[in-house]
């Protein structure tokens, strides 16, 4: 019994943030945004430690089960969250706005991610996903200009509600057929390819597609990115993808194994649409965040197309790729935190014309991150693309290879438009001084990217061992 409490320490520490945050809010007279940021980092550090320590222990194995596999994904996600919490505090400080609610909702999300990533039952899924959507709804509302996000939040609530409904219907259908919600039981009993079962599978996967923000269910995600506050945009871009992919792999391999081909086909369709529309839509988009939102949709589609076989090598490749993409996007969002003009954070592409003349180092890092997104050698992104495309070539998946490379041209075009604005256009704006923390984070990120290039295997050595065990 006591052991279980120790195993639940990550969740407990997540929950402790709420308690401590509430107490600080009530008792401490002087609170700055940094207060809660520090608290969040402290708690999250403990969460990470405990996650790693109890990497293969589960207190409630029927609901969620921790394994090396899930730990890898969760650790990366938490580390990103940690970095982002630190950077977000600069935004709140600059705007002089309270941060407790933001961090509270983020921690709630992390709890949801924790359960989702390790979910061992459709029941956990049915709880975690709606909970996550609920947290997203509250994240949208973190904007101080409620009118601006009112419609969006309502629309999101409706759409999310619809997909949660689909999830529950699918879960119910499966429960009716098998009498169980646990993955292992479902995959054992779930042997017939009846239309009902297939429908259930599709409904559940559809909800995942919505969660991932894949086309055509991406409008909400893009809308959030373009309207929400910057800390929210960064958080929902950087942290969830790894969790969702982990959960999806768990679901397919653990639960829907007999339906793997069927599920793979469906995932492939959505991934292809995301690839194409993400790449095309990112072009000529004046809003920078929206542009990179489309690019992140593209990258997710890329990762899924590479992963669709669900073999060990495919998963490793997709994992490596996703980590690299997320690192690049983390760098890009860090730069966004430095794009401050007269106290306001700029997001239009014309606002950053000639930015490099004022901030050459920041522009250089943005350049490196974008080229990493394109997968240009010798940036780390090249390694990610190489892994995926090499697997596809080995499997003679020519159509997918062609599709990936053609859409990559459009992605490159989109990034080039940003580079053109940064470097080739005459300066139009004056920018405020950026916080030192931004430079430090950028430096760490770029150094990490450049050093990892010397030996990329170091980046994912442990993951290789773990993920390679997947068959």
């Amino acid at each position: 019994m006591l052991e279980n409490w120790f195993i639940l320490l990550p969740e407990i520490f997540i929950g402790s943030f709420f308690v401590l945050g509430f107490l600080i809010g009530r008792c401490r007279s002087s609170q700055t945004p940094k207060t809660f940021a520090t608290l969040a980092q402290f708690c999250l550090t403990l969460v990470i430690l405990c996650t790693i320590i109890f990497y293969n222990k589960s207190a409630l194995p029927h609901f969620w089960q921790n394994t090396s596999f899930t730990t890898i994904f969760k650790t990366f996600a938490y580390l990103l969250a940690l970095a982002w919490f630190y950077l977000s505090s600069k935004w709140f400080l600059n705007k002089n706005r309270p941060s407790f609610k933001f961090y509270a909702v983020c921690f709630a999300l992390l709890l949801g991610f924790d359960i989702l990533a390790s979910a061992n039952s459709l029941g956990s899924l049915s709880v975690a996903i709606p909970f996550i959507c609920f947290c997203y709804y509250h994240l949208i509302l973190r904007h101080w200009d409620i009118e601006r996000v009112e419609y969006l939040s309502k629309a999101y609530a409706v759409v999310a509600g619809f997909f949660c409904l689909l999830l529950w219907v699918g879960t119910y259908l499966i429960y009716q057929d098998t009498g169980s919600l646990e993955y292992s039981n479902i995959s054992t009993f779930y042997l017939n390819n009846s239309a009902g079962n297939m429908l259930a599978v599709m409904l559940i996967i559809a909800s995942f597609m919505f969660l991932l923000g894949l086309v055509p269910f991406h409008i909400g995600f893009v809308a959030i990115i373009s309207n929400a506050i910057l800390p929210v945009c960064g958080f929902i871009t950087l942290v969830p993808p790894l969790i969702y992919i982990c959960a999806l792999i768990n679901l397919i391999k653990g639960c829907f194994l007999p339906f793997m081909d069927f599920a793979a086909g469906m995932i492939m369709i959505f991934a292809t649409l995301s690839l194409v529309l993400g790449a095309l839509s990112a072009n000529n988009e004046p809003n920078l965040r929206k542009r990179f939102a489309f690019l992140s949709i593209y990258c997710l589609g890329f990762a899924l197309i590479g992963m669709v076989d669900f073999s060990g090598l495919a998963v490793i490749a997709s994992f490596a790729y996703t980590v690299i993409v997320v690192l690049s996007l983390a760098g890009i969002y860090t730069v966004f935190l430095g794009l401050k003009s007269k106290g306001e954070y700029v997001s239009d592409i014309t606002d950053i014309n000639g930015f490099y003349r004022l901030r050459p180092y920041m522009s250089a890092t943005l350049l490196i991150f974008m080229f990493s997104l394109i997968g240009l050698a010798p940036t780390l992104g090249f390694f990610g693309y190489l892994s995926i495309i090499n697997n596809l070539v080995a499997d003679n998946a020519w159509l997918r290879v062609s599709l990936l490379l053609i859409t990559l041209i459009f992605v490159a075009s989109s990034c080039l438009q940003v580079i053109r604005a940064l470097y080739f256009e005459p300066q139009t704006n004056k920018f405020d001084r950026a916080d030192k923390a931004i430079y430090i984070c950028l430096f760490i990120n770029v150094t990490f990217i450049l050093i990892s290039l010397i030996n990329p295997t170091l980046l994912i050595r442990d993951a290789l061992v773990v993920l390679g065990g997947l068959s």
Partner: protein, 478 residues
Amino acid sequence: MFMNSPFAILSLIVCIPFLGMLFTLTAKEDAASNTHNSFNVAVFTIIANLVMIWRVFMLIDETQLKLQLFEKFDWLEVPDINLVFAVDNLSLLMILAVHLVLLMGIISVRDDTTNQKAQMIFTLLFLSMSTGLFVAADIFSFFIFFEAMLLPLFMLVGMFGGYKKTDRLGGFFLYNLLGAFILFVAILLIYKFYGSLTLDRTKEILWRQNYGLFIWSALALSFVFRIPIWPFHYWISSITSKLRNPLVFIAASILPLSGIYGFARFWPAFIPLDISQYFIWLNIIGTITMLFISLIGFINRDAQYKIFAFVTVYYIFYLLGIFSQDKLILQNIGYALFGFVIVFGALEIVSAYIYRQEQLYESNSDGFLCRAKRLSLLYSFATFAAAGFPLSAMFTNNFLILSRLLSTHIQIGVFLILACIIASAALIKEMFRLKTDNKECALGKSEDMPMWQFIFMLFIVFMLIMSFIRPLWFVVSE
């Protein structure tokens, strides 16, 4: 890791410009005090690397046609990819040529202090990547540098090229990137069926098995993308011919060299008869492109386009030479390309200098060379060398290539030499414009090239002449 070269010398010559770039990042630039710290660092870096290259020349056996001084570094486990470096005469000559011509370019922009630091950074990065391309000894290493050289080139062109239609630059980059992607697919296929081949073993790739036809076609297509041969000439011609910065023009003109080099390295040991019959079309298209570009260069009043036309014509000329697969040509193509690169670099430097004086003094340059003696000497020399006179290694190899092409198809050979004549005539016409005295020209003796720059260019002239007499005169046997 495996090495049979001392001190990882090949990795050093790739890294030195990169380290120089990092030093340049830290160099202080102060426009008010007119210091040239980044310029000095860049020049010092290149000179240091030239010394290293000289050393490497002494280590290799230039009579051997195979790659030497292997260095192998483990990079990835899954897939199993290593970085492999090695050199032979051809690659070393290319490295030397690129270093010298970029040094010329850097010296020519010394007085252009706007963003000089960024310019030096990207130039050194480009130099490092180009060097890596020429020392790469296996397919993946080759590809990495083949793609990597696009980034600094794009930045140089966009930031310093003086090109006004910046939206076109994206097209230029994407076009080259597409070519790199095609090469990527080909290399992955090679890796799938043959493992990580070294460049000299790529001849083993069969045509009729393992997607051989696709591999060879993709390889050829990816290299052709870099060479301004019709119909792939458009992006390169529309961008390169309008570049006003001599350093950027030179860098952009080195890009087709990577395609030529690719063909020289990746060539099958055997071509099936049903495919080799199509090579005649390559020759025809190449010759037509040469005629086409040379004619446009002839009618175009812009000196920059004339130089571009010359560069294009001769790149295609050497490409056709490589297609002939003559052993003697392949043995000596390095010398020809060396001479050619230096010649067009010298031509561009003097031409850009004249253009800058025109802009500075808002005067036309008709007859400028009547008063500027140093410039006149250099310009005449560069034009004569470009026209095909025996002043550089180009002469002998042009003779070889032409004779081989004439022996296979006389008509193609005739049009080919006609294209070369027209391209040269365009340059000669420009030279005469500058030498025909004009009282309205405000440029005089005081606008002549500075002595120190002139002395440096004389050294380049010396290198060119020696490349004709004894190309490896600087190699001292141990």
